[in-house]
Subunit: 216 residues, 2 copies
């Protein structure tokens, strides 16, 4: 079982370099190259590779858009982003697009080989500097401000708050919890004054900004 790889980069020399690097590996086979995002999409559909080494900055269609299209279609391919830049925008857009890995071109070659094998196995791998960015995103963006008052909401009030953050009206919440809408209003009123908020809209904002119901 060899890993079938498609190399996508607009620079001929870069493609040649990758091909050389991967040529020595018995379990890896470069089946084709593409020089634009558009080309990558068609090649991916035709050859159905296991792993796609994808550059980001390319003419015609960039690597992010190509990744979205490829992964949006019927495929088992996994995309490994391979770029010179580790800018935030690229990283997070790539992950949102569904890429399985993100390696920088100046990472050591072994790193690239390991990444190809890792994502071919269905796992995922990020370059250390990229990993740091991703973690910082979790550590900062998400824990804005744990609103202490949330702690002394009763279980019922928490439940109501959760449904509010789904966009439900009081009547809908009542049907959901098998209680009357007037009761829901009671809970809402109390919950708002406990959290010192004006209306349900602010409650939704608070919940999302502090990641109250992230898990669900």
């Amino acid at each position: 079982m060899t890993i079938r790889v498609l190399v996508v980069d607009d620079q001929t020399m870069v493609r040649a370099g990758f091909r050389l690097l991967l040529a020595d590996e018995a379990d890896i086979d470069v089946v084709a190259e593409a020089s634009t995002g558009r080309d990558a999409v068609t090649q991916a559909a035709r050859l159905r590779p296991d792993v796609i080494l994808m550059d980001i900055r390319m003419p015609e269609m960039d690597g992010l858009e190509a990744t979205r299209r490829i992964l949006g279609s019927d495929t088992t391919a996994r995309v490994l982003i391979l770029t010179t830049f580790d800018l935030d925008d690229y990283v997070f857009e790539a992950l949102r697009a569904g890429a399985s890995g993100f390696v920088l071109k100046d990472d050591p070659p072994e790193q690239l080989l390991a990444a190809v094998r890792t994502i071919a196995a269905g796992e995922a791998l990020l370059s250390p500097t990229v990993t740091r960015r991703v973690i910082r995103r979790f550590a900062t963006v998400r824990r804005q401000a744990p609103p202490a008052a949330v702690a002394d909401l009763t279980p019922r009030e928490m439940e109501v708050l959760r449904l509010i953050t789904r966009g439900l009206s009081n009547a809908e919440i009542g049907r959901e919890l098998f209680i009357s809408d007037t009761t829901v209003k009671t809970h809402v009123t109390r919950l708002l004054q406990k959290l010192d908020l004006r209306d349900r809209a602010q409650a939704i904002v608070l919940a999302y900004q502090t990641g109250l119901f992230d898990e669900a």
Copy 2:
């Protein structure tokens, strides 16, 4: 320059194992061990290690809480979570706590060594299975459904929507944009019908679930 390591695990055998594994490495020095989270916090303050290998499940205080306390204090230490379980809750809580890495106990030993050196260098590293979880979090939780209709909101409507997602009332939005509140209502009405939503609450939910205004 040796990397000074603190090993934290409630099982004696596990600690001994790590000590043995790290003993062979010239650039790594295990300076102490701790068997509880509470112990870890005091040892970290006293010895000021570079890297802390932290188990999660421990008596007295778990590794996540210990991590929070250590990183919350005045320290340059970096925490590498090392556990048997890669449950979602653990992973995301650990990253939020500020851990620099997450390695599983059944990962190959080289992985652990690489992780220690990587995070000592200020970078970050996650086990491939953990990386996959994190990425999926980005790929799914964040891009639930790009609401196509958002594209044909006018600039003004986008602006109003942005302020709605801050929890502002129509009157407040009007003051913010120097227009009357009746005009705001017009924009709101149109924006809601374009997005096929009932009220501003649902608009806020949509915006956050699709990450409309992530960046700001």
